[in-house]
């Protein structure tokens, strides 16, 4: 078992692939180094006219044989090295996602979706780069440099080698200096492009305002500014990038120039042969690319190092909501889940330094009873749902008990398996309707799914779709209306046959008529279960056994619908207003 946060461990698993790949790479390079040597021999043979037809044919055959062998070993080495690195990539991505599944909501509040996604794609991609192309480049560079230089010095001429190599360090310098500079400017180009996209998006989505306030001409001017800026930043990149390749070409050509002039003089003074000279040029050609890759490898490595650190930071993140008891019910827990919920002097804040979202909440919901929660946006209603689901743990004072046991001491799986949760935003996944409703560890049968869908008044609409329950939702599929989404989301909670049902403002997107129908259908279902209904509309909660009015994290009014109306306070006020407004809407 490898240490989860140590990425190197995942690579070591594939060490034999790398060893095999290394052998093949050495073989390829040896073969490659042979080629100039053979051409050199041919040249000398031709020069001294010591070759004959048969010998010439023989050399040609060797060249082809070498290239065939290179071909095979090339293919096999790719399979080994790229295979290892792609497996590494695949495994680490799985590990990352599995780890994210364990992290609590707090983590996801701290980290942006886009950044987490970048970890699993871009950062992992730069690791894949260094473990495959980087590995190949490094090996090739090392072998080619060492062997070519050895041959050049040993068999051709050390001084010629030395002089011709003089420009090469500049090549490395240019690569390492220019690479990051180009990257930086390129990033600015990308940023400026997203500015452009943002400006355009704002304009298009706000086109009504633009037109209504006759802002078209100003918008054109503003766009011209962003457009010009984008142009300028692009040209900044062009100015730098445009010089890059000509410069590299210049430097490597200088090497050839030196080889030509100095080498030519050496031939003339008979210190080397023409064949040596041709072979030398061949080696120089072979060596230029590895020298350039030294710069590339350095850039790769820097990026990979940063990526590795970022990924390891994610994997080192400790999940903070975990089971403190084994999954099977312990002695303190009854076999049956009853669904009694009790808040005892509970005060809660999402952040230790942040403001309290709930203050001194005392609340008991007996099994089978229904609690209604009403209050302004931000009054803490959804937080109550989040706490019962244990998406957050209470940090401050107070306790939350489920069936008399502290919530942190019940098994997470057992708790959540017994809760049916209908979230505020009706989050659905772009999968089939069947998968969206049958959203539980053990997939329910289609019959069970349809039963839940009929209670939430959506079965009929689904059966009217061409693919019925196999209809795919989301961007590449069917888009349901807000009300339909809510009903699917309700069915998703019902199909689990939970002991506790939490409805977080889930009926706001359906009209009052449908709301009534759904609540009527739900009634028998709710009677056997502990229910919490969080709502904006009084009509959703007026039948609850108890209603609490939350304001700024405190319970300011509590009682039954009738009791609250008599109080003639906040609850009564919103009731009256909503009644009228709804009637106007449906007139």
């Amino acid at each position: 078992m490898v240490n989860k946060a140590n990425l190197f461990g995942y690579l070591v698993k594939h060490k034999w692939r790398y060893v095999r790949g290394l052998f093949l790479l050495i073989l390829i390079n040896v073969l490659q180094v042979l080629v100039p040597k053979i051409t050199g021999q041919i040249v000398d043979g031709l020069e001294t006219l010591s070759l004959d037809d048969r010998k010439l044919l023989y050399y040609g055959a060797i060249l082809i044989l070498i290239s065939l062998m290179t071909f095979v070993s090339h293919f096999l080495s790719r399979l080994q090295v790229a295979g290892a690195s792609n497996r590494f990539d695949y495994e680490v991505r799985n590990v990352m996602f599995d780890h994210m599944l364990k992290l609590s909501m707090k983590f996801f509040h701290r980290n942006r979706v886009g950044e987490l996604m970048a970890l699993a794609t871009n950062d992992l991609g730069s690791l894949r780069m260094i473990t495959s192309r980087g590995f190949n480049l490094m090996t090739n560079t090392l072998i080619l440099l060492v062997s070519s230089i050895f041959i050049m010095v040993r068999y051709v001429d050390p001084r010629l080698t030395l002089y011709s190599f003089l420009p090469l360090p500049f090549l490395v310098l240019v690569m390492t200096k220019f690479g990051p500079m180009i990257n930086r400017r390129f990033r600015r180009v990308q940023e400026s492009f997203s500015d452009l996209t943002r400006k355009t998006t704002e304009n298009i989505t706000g086109i009504r305002v633009v037109k209504a306030f006759v802002q078209e001409d100003y918008e054109k001017e503003n766009f011209a500014k962003v457009n010009q800026e984008n142009f300028d930043i692009n040209m900044d990149l062009v100015r730098l990038q445009g010089i890059f390749y000509p410069l590299i070409n210049l430097i490597s050509s200088l090497s050839f120039l030196i080889a030509f002039v100095y080498g030519g003089n050496l031939i003339i003074s008979k210190q080397i042969s023409l064949g040596d000279f041709i072979a030398f040029n061949g080696y120089l050609g072979i060596i230029i690319r590895p020298v350039m890759s030294i710069g590339m490898i350095i850039n790769f490595a820097q990026r990979a190092k940063a990526s590795k650190e970022r990924i390891e930071e994610l994997l080192n993140e400790e999940p903070d909501i975990v089971d403190t008891v084994p999954d099977n019910p312990g002695p303190g827990q009854a076999e049956d889940f009853h669904g009694r919920i009790e808040f005892r002097n509970l005060t809660f804040a999402y952040d230790k330094k942040g403001p309290n979202v709930l203050e001194n909440i005392n609340l008991t919901i007996e099994p089978g009873k229904t609690l209604g929660i009403i209050g302004k946006v931000g009054s803490g209603k959804s937080t109550i749902a989040n706490l019962i689901l244990r998406l957050y743990d209470p940090l401050e004072e107070g306790q939350l008990l489920i069936d008399g046991v502290d919530i942190t001491k019940t098994s997470l799986k057992r708790l959540r398996d017994n809760i049916g949760y209908i979230p505020q935003d009706n989050f659905l996944f772009s999968s089939t309707i069947r998968n969206n409703i049958g959203f539980m560890p053990e997939e329910p049968t289609l019959e069970e799914i349809r039963r839940a869908a009929s209670i939430s008044q959506i079965d009929e609409s689904i059966m009217e779709l061409p693919d019925q329950y196999d209809t795919i939702l989301g961007e590449r599929g069917v888009n349901l209306s807000g009300g339909q989404k809510q009903r699917v989301s309700i069915a998703r909670a019902l199909v689990r046959d939970p002991k506790i049902l939490i409805m977080d403002d889930c009926l706001s997107a359906v009209d009052t008529d449908t709301e009534r129908k759904i609540l009527n259908e739900l009634k028998p279902f709710m009677e056997e279960r502990t229910c919490i209904i969080i709502a904006h509309r009084v009509s959703s909660i007026q039948d609850a056994d108890e209603i609490i009015v939350l304001d700024d994290g405190r319970i300011i009014e509590r009682g039954s619908h009738e009791e609250l109306l008599e109080l003639n306070g906040y609850y009564n006020r919103i009731y009256q207003r909503q009644l009228l407004e709804q009637e106007i809407e449906t007139a």
Binding site: T39, G45, L46, E47, D53, L56, G60, L63, I64, S67, F75, R78, A82, N86, Y90, R93, N94, M100, L101, K102, M105, V113, M117, T121, T200, E202, N203, I204, R208, K211, A212, F213, V214, E219, K220, N227, M235, V238, G242, P246, N249, L250, L257, F260, V261, G264, I268, L274, K376, V377, I419, Y421, F429, S430, F439, M440, R492, I584, T586, A587
Partner: protein
């Protein structure tokens, strides 16, 4: 049948390409200079192997064969060396110039296309935006111009360069030795075919990798955003399995590419070596027979290596061409959309608007004859207010849309101060209307900019005065930087109520004669609600107001309440009149004061 369709496509493509060339037309001389530079550079780089050949054949072999003195040869080599140096420096300078010039031209073209599209979009009617998703319009402005430009800076120049390079090499080779040239090109068909097949396969493989990567991205985006739901429903294990599936497909796509590239690229090397071996063998025999100079053979080897590059590039350019044609088609499609009619009015100086509004038997449909408004007639005197009440989809918002000239009504007349709004012209009409929308669009920028928008004549004092008038000043001055406070992307830092107050200020600052308001339905907290109601009273003072109303206070205080049902006016009158009618409005009203009262 099919063939004819293809032919038509080709003619169509050609037309498109001609139309695309219009964008490049202002810069044609840049392209010519760029091409001239390319030719010079190509010439310079082709001269290099020639120098080597001269060095070997004339000087080195001259010494070897003792036809030349060592000193002379040395001198010659040095001269060649200096020419070599001049060549590479020229190559460097011209290479940079050429790249710079070409890119500069390309970016200018992109700039122009973008500007053209954006400016055109500004004048498209709202009905266009109903049909087309915002994201797609944005892509037309941002991405498509870059793809179109590829035709100029990538394909056009690249194509000519590749062709010139290839032809130049062929000519030089033929002039040196036609036999050797034939031998060198024996493997050429094999290379061309292999390259084309490889490009095609490679493109498919890359496409698959990109698709799978996009799937991984979509999966992660969705599941990280829905992590709470996954955990609340104990779906971690099933989701991990689902991810494994997507991830594995991505892995497999990569492995496929490893195989494709692993076979094709080394294969090309084999073919190239084969060509080289042929050349060496044949050339070697010629040298042995004394029919060929060694330097010539050496040069051939060099040229042959250079010949493979343009071939590779040509196949690449063909794909690019196709992509830019697709983009161009989309862009032209958008540019061909008709702009809003009647921006300018027919009445030259219609300035002193009083604000009397009259609808006379107005019929309106968004599509065909699906009437949304049927025979709507009403009249609102200057300074009066009208509240439209009715169910969602009854047609309330459509009335606002028509009054602002966002859509064209099919029958009847809409008159302001007795003048048809079509004669007033959209610009003038809208300058006199203050519009407050349900969904407040905020732009990135500071608060002041969001109130005055980009009107340069509005001073800071006026902004503050307007904000104070609608009670927005209080919360704005509490923000960091007050009126200079930057609003983030989409303006998420402000609450719904605060956004509404800003939109009030935005309308008020222009001191419009007519106020048009689509009241927000979303509930805000009580304190803000009171502020909003108070601000509304200030806002409506002295203006003709038309409101799609949800708030009871707005409705009760309106001079005219108009109840709309299924596109028709059902009841009209002020609060008292409607109550005495004992109709629908009466029912609604009684509900509040009589808990026992049930709507019959």
């Amino acid at each position: 049948m099919d063939d004819r369709g293809k032919n038509q496509d080709r003619v169509y493509d050609r037309k498109l390409v001609w139309r695309m060339l219009e964008f490049a037309k202002p810069y044609w001389h840049y392209f010519v200079i760029s091409l001239l530079l390319i030719f010079t550079i190509t010439g310079a780089s082709l001269a290099r192997p020639y120098l080597t050949k001269v060095g070997i054949d004339k000087y080195i072999n001259g010494v070897v064969k003792s036809t030349m003195s060592v000193e002379e040869a040395r001198q010659g080599i040095w001269t060649l060396g200096i020419m070599f140096l001049v060549l590479i420096i020229v190559e460097f300078i011209l290479g940079y110039l050429q790249r710079y010039l070409l890119e500069l031209t390309g970016k200018k073209i992109i700039y122009n296309i973008r500007e053209k599209i954006f400016n055109h979009v500004q004048h498209l009617p709202l009905s266009f935006f109903d049909k087309m998703a915002a994201g797609r319009v944005v892509t037309r402005v941002t991405n498509d111009p870059e793809t179109i430009n590829e035709l100029f800076s990538g394909v056009l120049v690249g194509f000519i360069r590749s062709m010139v390079e290839m032809i130049a090499i062929i000519i030089v080779m033929f002039r040196l030795s036609s036999r050797l040239t034939m031998v060198s090109f024996m493997v050429l068909p094999l290379i061309v075919v292999a390259t084309i097949i490889f490009r095609r396969t490679a493109r498919k493989v890359w496409q698959r990798i990109r698709t799978k990567l996009a799937e991984i991205n979509a999966f992660l985006a969705e599941h990280i955003a829905g992590m709470g739901i996954i955990q609340a429903f104990n779906m971690q294990n099933r989701k991990a399995q689902e991810f494994d599936k997507v991830n594995k497909e991505y892995f497999e796509a990569h492995m496929k590419s490893v195989k494709v590239f692993g076979i094709f690229r080394p294969f090309m090397d084999v073919v190239e070596t084969l060509g080289m071996a042929l050349l060496l063998w044949y050339g070697g025999r010629s040298i042995l027979a004394g029919a060929l100079e060694f330097g010539t053979l050496y040069m051939f080897v060099d040229y042959l290596g250079r010949f493979y590059w343009p071939i590779r590039e040509l196949t690449e350019q063909f794909n690019t061409l196709q992509n830019s044609i697709v983009s161009a088609e989309r862009v032209f499609n958008l540019l061909d959309q008709e702009v809003e009619p009647r921006i300018e009015g027919t009445i030259p100086d219609y300035d002193n608007m009083v604000g009397e509004i009259e609808f006379k038997n107005v019929w309106f449909a968004y599509i065909d004859e699906n009437w949304v408004l049927k025979d709507i007639s009403f009249k609102i005197k200057p300074g009066e207010s009208a509240a439209f009440v009715g169910a969602t989809g009854a047609g309330k918002t459509s009335i606002i849309n028509l009054l602002c000239g966002f859509y064209e009504h099919q029958r009847g007349e809409i008159l302001i101060d007795g003048v048809d709004i079509r004669d007033i012209g959209k610009e003038k009409l809208r300058r006199n209307i203050g519009l407050v929308l349900q969904d407040v669009s905020l732009f990135s920028g500071d608060i002041a900019t969001n109130i005055k928008l980009f009107e340069p004549d509005i001073s800071r004092e006026e902004v503050v005065r307007a904000a104070k008038h609608v009670h927005a000043h209080e919360f704005i001055s509490k923000l960091y930087g007050a009126y200079d406070h930057e609003i983030g992307e989409g303006g998420t830092t402000l609450s719904v109520g605060q956004r509404q107050l800003i939109s009030f200020a935005r309308a008020l600052i222009r001191d419009p004669k007519i106020l048009v308001m689509d009241e927000a339905t979303s509930h805000v907290d009580t304190e803000t609600e009171e502020l909003i109601q108070d601000a509304l009273i200030n806002l409506m003072k002295g203006r003709t107001t038309i409101a799609v109303a949800h708030r009871l206070s707005t409705i009760q205080n309106a001079d005219k309440i108009i109840l709309i049902h299924k596109g028709r006016i059902r009841e009209m009158g002020n609060h008292q009149e409607l109550l005495s009618k004992r109709g629908l409005y009466y029912n609604l009203y009684r509900l509040q004061y009589d808990p026992e009262y049930k709507v019959s």
